[in-house]
Symmetry: C2
Subunit: 368 residues, 2 copies
């Protein structure tokens, strides 16, 4: 597999409402300051863990008198709530943040979602930068403008579409990522390959060992290809009225698994991996994907495992799936694979089919 | 003064990001249902007071099986907070609201701001309708897409730009409005006249008695002319980067008065009226407006009084004004009248000038 030798790539995101670059590669963090627009004050939202690992290198490029003000959000879904958004907004106001201020969201997916949401609603919207520190955030959540917080009754039920000024995806940050989080992020890249980039899929199928050993060039290719796929889809359908729904491949069942396990047992990417297995089985049953292709995807998913098992029944999962916020006016949407590199959204999946696919998946869970 | 005899007028709002009609006039409420888009479920956000006065007529046009679900927000600035937005979002989620649901904000300015904000962030944005029940909300806050909530440290520091699908301004609702609230709303219409519509100003100058007696045709003219002015300005500058700032005529000092009196003593429109008097004096001092014109505006403001007095010092007001969120990167902006029907934004008002103008205003406050 050939992949580009340059260490920093720029992928342009162009949607109806915004245009911005994703800068991906190595060595971005040490040059951060000169890449920022020079306007008002700079604020950083991060987690105590990420900051303790990376603050020195983060601050290295800032002149002493331009040090950003640092806001902290503890790690964990339980802090992805409105009360924290309000607390952070109050801290910004107390520190004199105004409409010219810039917020940098530096951390994983929750920091990115919450930072984006905070920027979206502080004084009705200020500029912000995504600086994702996890693979999941780099390949998926930092691109596309979705921001948000959880309600007690469900994840991401509150939020805004608010695009960043830029995304800086520095793969050097992945060197301190726990192994399980790396694997969980890679499932979203497998998804990217399956739904729209057969070349990325084949690379991940063949070079799992290299990728899992965090080879820089291999990670760089996976990250940039995943981002390119997402930028492409979001550019065509920003508000998820059509094509963007394919990004939910594996997510209907994945979200249901997360809900029934109370977001404690599995990482998001792991739940999506199980969800992709169920969607693959649905594709096999309907004949939208050949068994040979489905088996290759399945085999590749397991190559990035282990996938943690969990306890659930098909009934509970279907009940949770019916509450998915992607459903509109009672219609349940489902993303099915069409071979490798293409997917389609269907609305006519019956409960019987879904139970069969989920039961098949649960049989694999019991083997795990 | 001639004004149009039709009882319902449509004013089109066309901004960069949205296009929607403001339907203004009499008899709109009884025909509400047929004016709504038919899609998902309908939710109404209102206050207990408004609902007890108007629910029967509100529901009259709804088929029995299409009754909307009613959400309540108690009256008062203390409820214009994130915790209430979260509570309302949770109630919507529990009732099965999805992305196809429609929210109607039925009430005064706080209901409109909070309803718009709730719609802006529920599932990252659902459609909503503004149905303002106060004059202030009809002539000002329901048009333009500004939504929001307060932080403990300041008003409207959290929010979104989110335009409604339509605004229904039924002047019949004004018949139950307390007299003081009617007068407070009329100050925003005087503002509209002074900054951009000399014809509206002259009408209000001459026909105060008719307007204050709630003559339907007179109110209809004031409401539609005010909305037209706002729609015009917002269409040119949606995000308040330039022209839209003139809408803040009287608001820099007005907001400062509200802040130092803890939002308890004066209604918003009353504080703005005092603020306009200070801005007029600044205009006199700078010669941007002739004394004759300034006197006419001043006289007209007092004709819609009484303006409640309050206690404050120039120093406290200037300190509060310096925290205004319209300021960017430390620059204080100020709107000055240029004759009647035109205003300009300046950035070079000194503390000395501002103190002189505020002291002049405070002398009038002591006479009140």
């Amino acid at each position: 597999m050939r992949y580009d030798e340059k260490s920093v790539r720029t992928i342009q995101v162009t949607t109806e409402s915004a245009q911005y670059p994703v800068i991906a590669g190595s060595g971005i963090l040490p040059t951060l300051y000169r890449r920022l627009p020079k306007r008002g004050r700079i604020f950083v939202l991060t987690s105590p863990e990420i900051w303790s690992l990376w603050s020195e290198r983060f601050l290295a490029s800032f002149p002493a008198q331009e040090r950003p003000l640092v806001l902290f959000l503890p790690a964990g879904e339980q802090y992805k709530r409105m009360a924290q958004v309000e607390r952070l907004a109050a801290e910004m106001a107390a520190a004199g943040a105004d409409r010219s201020s810039l917020l940098i969201a530096f951390g994983g997916g929750i920091i990115g979602d919450m930072g984006g949401f905070l920027a979206a609603i502080y004084m009705r919207g200020i500029d912000y930068i995504q600086m994702p520190s996890t693979l999941l955030a780099q390949v998926d959540s930092s691109v596309g403008g979705k921001t948000g917080a959880n309600l007690a009754v469900g994840k991401n039920l509150i939020g805004s579409f608010h695009h960043p000024l830029a995304v800086f995806a520095d793969i050097d940050l992945l060197q301190t990522l726990p192994d399980r989080e790396l694997r969980a992020g890679l499932f979203e890249s497998i998804k990217a390959g399956v739904i729209r980039d057969p070349r990325l899929f084949r690379f991940m199928e063949r070079d799992a060992a290299k990728i899992l050993s965090r080879d820089s060039k291999a990670l760089e290719y996976v990250v940039t290809a995943s981002i390119r796929m997402k930028a492409d889809v979001v550019g065509i359908d920003e508000r998820e009225n059509g094509l963007r729904m394919i990004l939910n491949f594996g997510h209907t069942v994945g979200h249901a698994i997360e809900a029934v396990t109370h977001y404690r047992k599995l990482l998001h990417g792991e739940a999506v991996a199980w969800g992709m297995l169920a969607a693959l089985q649905l594709g096999r049953m309907r004949g939208t994907i050949s068994s040979a292709h489905a088996d290759r995807v399945e085999h590749t998913i397991f190559a990035y495992g282990p996938l943690p098992p969990f306890r659930a029944t098909a009934e509970k999962l279907i009940e949770a799936a019916s509450r998915d916020k992607k459903n509109r006016a009672g219609v349940r949407r489902f993303v099915l694979p069409k071979g490798i590199g293409e997917a389609e959204v269907v609305e006519n999946v019956t409960d019987t089919e879904l139970i069969a696919a989920i039961d098949w998946m649960l049989a694999r869970v019991r083997e795990a």
